[in-house]
Assembly symmetry: C2
Homo-oligomer: 492 residues x 2
């Protein structure tokens, strides 16, 4: 079993700039402040709470369309506050940064519909303003409505989305890593020279999907590239992670599947010449806790009473309308016919062609959101966290909120002390560290030398096209994954 | 003479997320903090200073490329810190909002290269976070390098840029004004209903340049549409303003030209059925002051010694390289040949075909940036401000910084008291007012009923295409401008 777990653990609060992110139906809980998500103080108060508890980061999800497949429209999503209305995630970071010194901010931004040049500057700006506390979760957009909000009649086909994503990442890496030398800015008041022009250059990117001249508009920020997260479980998603990510956010149907997915992604990175053990993995974690078993049971019962089945169905329908089908319809048939939204059945969400619509509905109604779910007193919760760390080698997790700010408050008050007692969580921050150095150690403010973006530190590399985005032979990946598992066991 | 001047005056600090915005060469002044523009505290300190002085807003300019025409490359711009490096303007707003309650934020965002859907959400997010304190200066992008940063081999042709801009504004107005009813959000905890889906709708925009389905992702913010500024002096620019703007930021070569430009734009608005007197005009203002004539003279001499001619030449070259031409070359010839960057000679910057390159260079070297320039003790400065208000009917101005934070500090300390003594500037804010209600009066949180965006409050109007963007007959504009001038004189 992978024992390359990191200690201390890294814990992010999983967030979204909306009312109902994942735990649908629970926004109505007494004291739940989710409907204040439009207010600046909602975010600054949360940031201070998380920093007081030494969370690594707030991890902000995003979608740029409505989930409008279920029952043929967005009505259910609207009624449930299910990711609509939602606001821009990047815009709350500067407000949270203004009231904190160490908290990190990982934000989703899609590679599918907006041009990379402006996004690169936006992230550099955030990295400057936060002095190196930002990460970027690079995703592709899977909602058909999102495609239509950006002038694409149909959703971009799944595999093509990943090709575009890979080129998007390549473009922004060139801008972040290759366009300005570290010593380009002189700020020489005597001679009136701000920048040495010889140390700034265009990137002249010309690819299949983007043409970007440069130079990058922002001078180098503390981390240059934000910490690169990737999310997406399909083979293409794992390959994208292996090529570009430093950290992977993921869900998986079982702990064993999580373990395999982690090894698979590490193996892909290894085949590309990267240190497979440097990748950090963060699953979703659902934690319900309390001081006594009775308190936990009451909490679980209260949540069970309030969960909105409609909210879950609308969410997990993606672009699909489950209500169109008989229970016995096979997912494989939907895929073969290319029914609206079929792409999300092949897109890494863990669906299998042999499953039926009934299987899916039953699982959704049970609120199944991946296996990392635990309800118990602090020692029970931390036992489960330890089991995950030991058996999968995760670096930490994204804590799902049932209640805002209750979930984070309880985690800070009850779970963090137990984690610390077992040496699993640090006492505080190293003041002045970047998000990257917190995750990979002192001095690691920048991308590792074996990261593909690092090559752009050599200006000559800007003109050398990157290898095309292709999937490796699955057998080679499996063999490498097995080798890594043995290597790990030998060290364990 | 137009006497529809507003009292109190409205004063914005003109800013840009960079070292050298307009007063090139002066960043080296002792105590000038411009090189801290990457730091969050630069912005929060400035915001607090401006709010203490009751400024209306900070007005943030932007470019999304380098000025690389002069001497055939971006070298001069880089050396001078001349708008490169620069950072994203929208990203500093939430940080400034976190430390203020009343200061407004007007931000430039170009309509030329980024999709309107994501921008609409970004502005709604800022309007939510600031509780209605944001404005948007809608511009088109004129830098050839900007075009190439977004995959356009050549700059988009001037007139087409304005057609695109007009449709971009139309799309975002539909999203802001028409997609959600005011009472769509119920936040009904009893029934578990966040939004009434019957009160949210798609916009289904299908135009020549954009296709956007919607619905808008953000629920209605306090102002819905940000205060709509427009900048651009060509006939197309003035027409775009007349069709869409509530406020116009502009420069003009003389006071008389400013007066005419204001009347021309009011006339165009009038011909479109809008109240011509409702538009608010903000020229650039260059103010140098001190307690004594000697102090002012010392300051002027210091600035004159430091102004960077190269900085000005690189800036005002736009995409043109003046060094390629003999002094006697006529601008008309450059336009006829369509030399690289010629479009900026016809794009409303005040160039005339009969001018020569030598004329332009002499004017640039003299630091000519429009006529609203005054150096003097407070009474001299305020006399000039009064003259502008009386003779042109401006609503206020964007104060150019020679020194940061010195210019704003001195304005607050020396000019504001003199303005107040003469009844030209308010004592403070009405707490809780929006930027729009500060500019147009209590209760005016939303677009005026005669603004073209207001029609989208009727959902049926979303399906009715807007009149195409065409220029009216110039004689009709001139006649209407003359009528407005007479109407104003009669009331004066």
């Amino acid at each position: 079993m992978p024992r390359r777990a990191r200690r201390p653990l890294h814990v992010n609060l999983f967030e979204m700039n909306c009312v109902s992110h994942i735990t649908h139906g629970l926004w109505v809980l007494p004291g739940n402040t989710r409907e204040r998500f439009n207010e600046l103080e909602f975010w600054t108060e949360e940031a201070k709470l998380l920093e007081d508890a030494a969370f690594d980061a707030v991890f902000l999800a995003d979608v740029i369309g409505a989930y409008d497949g279920f029952r043929g429209g967005p009505e259910t999503s609207l009624r449930e506050g299910m990711q609509i209305p939602n606001n821009d995630p990047l815009s709350v970071v500067p407000a949270m940064a203004a009231v904190t010194r160490n908290l990190g901010f990982a934000v989703v931004h899609s590679t599918s519909y907006e041009p990379p040049f402006a996004f690169a500057r936006r992230m550099s700006t955030l990295d400057h303003l936060t002095r190196g506390r930002v990460g970027w979760n690079a995703v592709t957009s899977y909602l058909p409505n999102a495609a239509r909000n950006f002038g694409h009649g149909d959703e971009i086909e799944h595999d093509l989305r990943y090709e575009i994503a890979d080129e998007f990442v390549d473009v922004v890496l060139k801008l972040w890593e290759g366009s300005w030398d570290d010593d380009a800015v002189l700020a020489d008041r005597e001679r009136g020279i701000y920048t040495d022009p010889a140390k700034v250059r265009r990137i002249d990117h010309k690819g299949a999907h983007f043409e970007v001249e440069g130079p990058h508009l922002s001078q180098p920020s503390r981390q240059r590239s934000p910490v690169l997260f990737q999310a997406g479980g399909s083979a293409q998603g794992r390959q994208l992670a292996a090529r570009n990510a430093e950290a992977v956010f993921f869900g998986a149907p079982t702990l064993e599947a999580a373990r395999q997915q982690i090894l698979d992604t590490r193996a892909r990175a290894s085949l590309l010449g990267r240190d497979p053990w440097s990748l950090a993995f963060f699953p979703l974690a659902f934690v319900i806790t309390g001081r006594t078993d009775e308190a936990v049971a009451r909490r679980v019962a209260e949540y069970d009473r309030l969960y909105s089945v409609d909210g879950y169905l609308a969410h997990r329908s993606h672009g699909l309308d489950w209500t169109r089908y008989p229970r016995e319809e096979r997912l494989g048939a939907i895929i073969e016919r290319r029914d609206p939204g079929y792409q999300n059945l092949v897109g890494g969400w863990g669906y299998r062609p042999e499953q039926t619509v009934g299987d899916v509905l039953d699982a959704l109604k049970a609120g199944s959101w991946g296996p990392f779910q635990v309800a118990g007193t602090p020692s029970v919760v931390v036992d489960e966290i330890e089991r995950w760390v030991e058996e999968t080698g995760i670096a930490g997790f994204n804590l799902v909120q049932h209640h805002t700010p209750g979930t984070a408050e309880e985690f800070a008050e009850l779970i963090v002390p137990e984690l610390r007692r077992r040496g699993l969580f640090r006492e505080g921050y190293e003041d002045g560290e970047t998000l990257r150095s917190r995750l990979w150690g002192p001095g690691r403010d920048r991308l590792a030398d074996d990261h593909p973006g690092a090559r752009y530190r050599d200006p000559a590399q800007l003109a050398v096209p990157r290898d095309p985005f292709t999937l490796p032979d699955e057998a080679a990946v499996a063999a490498e994954a097995a080798r890594l598992a043995r290597e790990d066991a030998a060290r364990g």
